[in-house]
């Protein structure tokens, strides 16, 4: 690392300043809270970001303020927390005002039974409450997508959310509102003093660049380093596979990678833009694309996971890829040797293999803006509707000429092969055809040639084949406005 680099991270934990140097890249926020700080209100239920018992809020500086978002502490790696405000369940109630309105609503509505998921539920409701996103039932359900409760059946929790929403955030009952300008100032100070950070502990190294130049320099020296943006995938390598990830480069905080830039021709989305932050630009492109975001993980995962990570990990079922391929997305890779721009579909070579060279990182995903002339839809089918991994994910983009003939048809599927992949047979069969239910169904038979899916715990090959075909019909019906 450069001579100027710092050797510690700084953050605020509830109302306490924390400086840490003895941090390894695989140290999780949950273990830090529980084992080092005795903050045992935050629970471990699964250690893979699926149950939400470990939910805490992370406040990030934003335009002079602080934006709070729920995250899963179990897979949140410590080096990613420099310059943030971490809020745990212990911070909500106050000595003067007793229970926080969200907590009181949970008590009054009998929202807890065994109580183990409850702190996490409280924190997710708190996230929705403080950001005032719980205006209706669907929003509350969305807010709770990342929290499992095995006792209550959720009904009482939903009632609690509704009841809490009657008390709007105010400084009297809420500590983070009371302290917001103080916290914002402090985070700004930490940010202003920022230099690259290099943490070394137990022979494991965490590298936290501040700029793209620093990142390039690190990757030039450590071309095989583990790149971590949101860590929602790498977190599981740590907690489940116990892989060594050192040296690890943390890039999720980098402003340069969190930009969304729009030109006449395209939208360039920085690799570290989170799923949550994709929702608005996606909504501008296509409603179906924005709706897909709410089917990826729960809010905690969407607050951490990034578009670059979702592409970079090369998952055959990463849900963004089929949609992005169908929309002719390109991926921009950068290294000390220069930039490369390639169609996203070419980035996926085979299962577990991507076209990323040593020392390269994904800087952005580029999407053409000319979607308005087409029909576009993406469909995700999973065993459980929310917070599940696709059995099949299918995306379609269609252009028709005025007499109803298909002039262009793009389609890609996830969950059907070793990589997210174009349905080239389907595309060929439909291009030039008259767009009708019959032609759609007939062309869908080509999917048997396009894909040879596997059977696993998410679905059988038979179901994947059948659903893949039926989704073409679904798309047809949607384009003509039938249910």
């Amino acid at each position: 690392m450069t001579a100027m680099s710092a050797d510690k991270i700084q953050f605020i934990l509830n109302n306490e300043e924390v400086e840490l140097a003895d941090i390894r890249p695989h140290d999780t926020l949950l273990d830090f809270l529980r084992l080092r700080r005795g903050l045992t209100g935050t629970k471990e239920g699964c250690a893979e970001g699926d149950c939400g018992a470990c939910t805490v809020l992370v406040g990030k500086r934003t335009h002079g303020g602080v934006r709070y978002e729920s995250v899963n502490a179990c897979i949140r790696l410590m080096p990613s927390l420099h310059g943030v405000h971490i809020v745990t369940v212990e911070h909500l109630a106050s000595e003067t005002h007793g229970l926080h309105p969200v907590q009181k609503a949970m008590v009054d509505q009998h929202g807890s039974q065994c109580g183990f998921c409850t702190p996490g539920i409280v924190m997710s409701l708190y996230d929705a409450w403080i950001n005032q996103t719980t205006d209706d039932l669907a929003d509350t359900e969305t807010a709770l997508q990342g929290n499992l409760c095995r006792c209550t059946g959720y009904e009482a929790i939903i009632k609690a959310a509704k009841s809490a929403a009657e008390h709007r955030p105010c400084a009297k009952t809420d500590a983070i509102i009371r302290d917001q300008s103080k916290i914002a100032d402090r985070l700004e100070q930490i940010h202003a003093a920022r230099s690259a950070i290099h943490l070394a502990a137990d022979g494991a190294n965490s590298l936290i660049p501040g700029t793209v130049a620093e990142l390039l320099e690190i990757l030039h020296r450590e071309p095989e380093a583990t790149l971590i943006a949101g860590g929602t995938d790498v977190g599981l390598w740590v907690t489940k596979q116990m892989h060594a990830i050192s040296p690890a480069v943390f890039i999720g905080h980098m402003d340069a990678l969190r930009q969304i830039e729009t030109t006449d021709a395209e939208i360039s989305i920085g690799a570290a833009v989170t799923f949550a932050d994709l929702k608005t630009p996606f909504a501008a492109l296509a409603p179906s694309l924005a709706a897909l975001i709410d089917r990826i993980g729960g809010p905690q995962v969407r607050h951490m996971g990034t578009i670059g990570g979702n592409i970079g990990n090369g998952s055959p079922i990463g849900d963004l890829a089929p949609a992005l391929i169908t929309l002719d997305a390109r991926v921009e890779l950068l290294s000390a040797a220069g930039a490369r721009l390639m169609p996203l579909e070419d980035y996926f070579i085979a299962y577990g293999r991507q076209d990323r060279r040593p020392g390269e990182f994904i800087r952005s995903i580029r999407l053409p803006r000319s979607l308005q002339s087409r029909h576009f839809a993406v469909y995700k089918v999973s065993k459980r509707r929310d917070e599940d991994i696709s059995a099949v994910c299918a995306a379609f983009a269609l252009t028709l000429d005025p007499d109803g003939t298909v002039t262009r048809f793009r389609s890609a599927y996830g969950g059907m092969a070793g990589t997210p992949k174009r349905a080239s047979g389907l595309e060929a069969a439909l291009t030039g055809a008259v767009w009708s239910r019959e032609t759609a169904q007939a062309a869908a038979q080509m999917l048997d040639h396009d894909f040879q899916p596997l059977s696993d715990w998410r679905a059988s090959a038979e179901y994947r084949r059948l659903t893949a075909k039926n989704l073409v019909t679904r798309f047809y019906l949607d384009t003509v406005g039938e249910a």
Partner: protein, 779 residues
């Protein structure tokens, strides 16, 4: 104008029996201040354990090299079967078929072979991966079909229930159907995983904090494993983060390993497996394959039933005997079978040993009965509800009240409950509207179903139906209450505290329930079979009554009034014309040397059961309920949603309506998960691949019914003298979820105009729905 009563002259106490009181730990739950075992401050020097498990489904261990494990940083000790001081066994039924550590034979993928004790949990987990174990594979099977094909042994003796002559009745019946149903298992997915903390003491003493529904059994197991007397072992449980049956027998192995590590190292040992290890190495709900023949008349009245219930029991017996028994006990659901023969087949498979789970086999039995009804309804083209009603048990004197186990159904209220719910939720009107809508075709189809529940309450092993409680009153009038039941979220401590508060007529704030502990109340039964408040509530009442009687006798003597002139008013006591605060009476009683502590006891009356003859009265009473669910399905993908559920459930005279409604809502949604998205999947090597929430999908908030109305049935006081005339509520509501499966069936059946029974197996994942649609379309 009257002034408000002074605080000491309240007309009623806070927290009496039947009050909708909140959970006694609710404040602590929401602030994170409720301590679970992993939250307890660790004693200094605490070590941590991790498991090393089999990577084969069935194999002989040919060699085991643990040197790399021992050499791993921070490792203090490695435990194998050879290190066990006493018995290498945790089988709950004495059959000694459940080793803590496998020795030369492994019988399921993930079976524990050794444990590492290390300075940190992380160090223990890392070390556990370094074992070099060689195997010689043996033939294995993980499924019921595999077991049957391979002539697998039964893990316990099967049971037969019969009445009348089923074979002749089937032959004589005008109509006859045979079929098969497959019912999936279920992972408990308690949010707090298994955990134990063992702290060694002097001599052979060992204190174990265990997340268990059965502290007494853990105590006995630890004593066996450490080869010491039970009086050395104290097992305590303040609360569990959920259990659902999964911590009835399954907690013992973790406690035993922690205790063994603590004994051998002389240091405290905590053992909290990772979620994946927990799911791979602990038992689940039994899968069943039901092969059935039913005979019925042209109206749809059942004349005869023969059914065999084959179950995936896993590699050992555990609780598979009583679980498969209870499946048979509930294979009648709410229906009278004139002639019946039911058999169980508890099959050995090379999978983790299946165990207790809310309902304990009953849900599987009842689901089969609802399948019988569905078969009849589709065969006759009738509304399944009409067929259900036709076959309900009678209400006395009509010759239709005898169960297949020869117990009379004396308290039948299913007719009233079903009819009221049918009216309240407009079942008929909505069903008609759905039939009309479905007839229009379209991709989205709807279904509606109203299904009954009748659940027998009592442990079928009569000895378990006993309980103890201990009450101390201190000199300030505060009451400390302890009982043998454990708190797993069901609000048991709250209910039992309400019983004590009512018994003394004092505010519940004066009553503190302490952690369940084997040194306070000995020889307890598992908190299971929905019996927690029935048994422990009565035991607590017995203890309170003893002290109250002493207080009455003392007050009468001291104040020279007849005993009948002593009356417990809210927080006060009237003694003749004198009124004293409760605490003042206690003070006076203490000075007069009145014993202010009592141990209470209760055993359930009337029940008896002879498994060999299949006759008796295994259940003290029945709890009833009914649910109506409406669903929509997408016939292109098989995806579905539950649009609305209405429930009317009988809890007798509720001890706490808020808690009971929570049990009903939660039980229903858990049951819905079992029947819909919760799928256990073993790969061809016999390894469970749905071993974490990323792969095993329990319901989320967005899966619950969009409209969800839950009511307690009114006027249903238990005809038996249970505590406050209440009824058990833990398990019965789980089966209300069968309404979802039946509604899905109707929606699927619509694609073939209801002429073909959809025969949906469970879990009815979107995949099963879509494949059933394809099957029906092909007809």
């Amino acid at each position: 104008m009257s002034s408000p009563p002074a605080p000491d002259a309240k007309t009623e106490i806070t927290g009496a029996m039947h009050d909708a009181l909140r959970h006694d730990s609710a404040h602590k739950h929401v602030t994170g201040a409720a301590d679970y075992i992993d939250d307890l401050r660790e004693p200094s020097g605490t070590l941590h354990a991790a498991l090393g498990g089999s990577t084969r489904a069935h194999a002989r261990i040919t060699s085991m090299d643990l040197s790399a494990v021992r050499a791993s940083p921070g490792v203090v000790r490695v435990l194998t079967a050879a290190d066990i001081i006493g018995l290498n066994d945790t089988s709950s039924n004495g059959s000694r078929d459940e080793p803590i550590f496998a020795t030369d034979l492994v019988q399921f993928h993930g079976q524990p072979i050794f444990a590492v004790i290390a300075a940190t949990r992380d160090g223990a987990r890392r070390a556990a991966r370094l074992a070099d174990i060689r195997y010689e594979d043996l033939p294995f099977w993980t499924t019921i079909d595999g077991a049957l094909d391979n002539g697998a042994p039964e893990v316990v003796a099967p049971m037969t229930l019969q009445r009348g002559d089923a074979a002749s009745a089937l032959e004589a019946a005008p109509r006859h159907i045979s079929g098969q149903m497959r019912i999936g298992g279920q992972e408990h997915f308690y949010l707090e995983g298994q955990i134990a903390l063992a702290i060694p003491g002097e001599d052979q003493d060992m204190t174990v904090w265990s997340s268990t529904q059965h502290p007494s059994e853990v105590q006995h197991m630890v004593a066996h494993v450490l080869d010491c007397a039970s009086h050395c072992i104290t097992v305590s449980t303040r609360r569990m983060g959920g259990a659902f049956g999964g911590k009835e027998t399954q907690a013992a192995a973790f406690a035993c390993i922690a205790a063994l590590g603590a004994r051998l190292t002389g240091r405290p040992v905590k053992f909290r497996p990772d979620r994946d290890e927990d799911m791979a190495s602990t038992g689940k709900r039994h899968d069943f394959r039901v092969d059935y023949q039913i005979g019925f008349d042209d109206e749809g009245r059942i004349l005869g039933v023969e059914a065999n219930f084959a179950a995936r029991c896993g590699y050992s017996s555990d609780l598979s005997g009583p679980v498969t028994d209870r499946a048979l006990f509930h294979a009648d659901s709410s229906y009278f079978y004139p002639h019946v023969r039911l058999t169980s087949q508890p099959l050995k498979t090379h999978t983790v040993s299946n165990t207790a789970f809310r309902g304990f086999g009953a849900p599987q039995g009842m689901l089969a009965a609802e399948r019988f009804i569905e078969e009849i309804a589709y065969a006759l083209g009738k509304d399944p509800l009409a067929v259900r009603k036709l076959n309900f048990y009678g209400q006395g004197g009509d010759g239709r009240t005898l169960t297949p186990y020869h117990q009379e159904v004396e308290d039948n209220v299913i007719h009233q409950i079903v009819e009221q719910l049918e009216q309240d939720c407009d079942y008929q009107g909505r069903r008609q509207a759905i039939l009309v809508q479905n007839a229009k075709g379209g991709v989205i189809r709807r279904g509606i179903a109203l299904t009954p529940v009748k659940f027998g309450v009592s442990f079928t092993l009569t000895a378990y139906n006993q309980a103890g409680a201990l009450i101390h009153i201190y000199q300030d009038g505060s009451v400390q209450l302890n009982h043998g039941g454990t708190e797993m979220g069901q609000g048991l401590h709250t209910k039992v505290a309400q019983v004590a508060a009512s018994a003394f007529n004092i505010d519940i704030a004066q009553v503190r329930v302490t952690a369940t502990s084997t040194d306070k109340v000995p020889n307890t039964s598992a908190t299971a079979a929905s019996s927690g408040s029935d048994l422990n509530g009565m035991a607590a009442f017995d203890a309170a009554r003893q002290i109250r009687d002493r207080l009455i006798a003392f007050a009468a003597l001291n104040w020279s009034v007849p005993a009948g002139e002593v009356e417990f008013l809210p927080n006060r006591v009237r003694i003749g014309t004198t009124i004293v605060p409760f605490a003042a009476l206690i003070q006076a009683a203490y000075r007069a040397r009145v014993q202010l502590s009592a141990a209470g006891f209760y055993k359930t009356p009337k029940i008896h059961w002879d498994r060999k003859t299949g006759r008796g009265r295994p259940f003290y009473y029945f709890a009833y309920g009914a649910a109506c669910s409406e669903v929509s399905i997408d016939t292109l993908t098989g995806e579905y949603r539950v649009e609305r559920t209405d429930i009317l459930h009988d809890v007798g005279k509720s001890l706490n309506p808020a808690i009971d409604i929570g049990q009903i809502e939660g039980g229903f949604v858990q049951g819905m998960g079992w029947l819909t998205t919760e799928e256990l999947w073993w790969d061809p090597s016999g390894r469970l691949r749905t071993h974490a929430p990323s792969t095993y999908k329990i319901p989320l908030a967005s899966d619950r019914p969009k409209v969800f109305n839950v009511c307690l049935a009114s006027g249903c006081a238990n005809r038996e003298p249970t505590i406050g005339r209440s009824k058990a509520v833990g398990e019965p509501p789980f089966m209300l979820a069968s309404s979802v499966l039946e509604a899905l069936s109707m929606a699927v059946a619509s694609v073939a105009h209801y002429r073909t029974p959809p025969r949906l197996d469970t879990p009815a994942t979107p995949e099963r729905i879509l494949l059933a649609i394809e099957r029906l379309k092909g007809r």
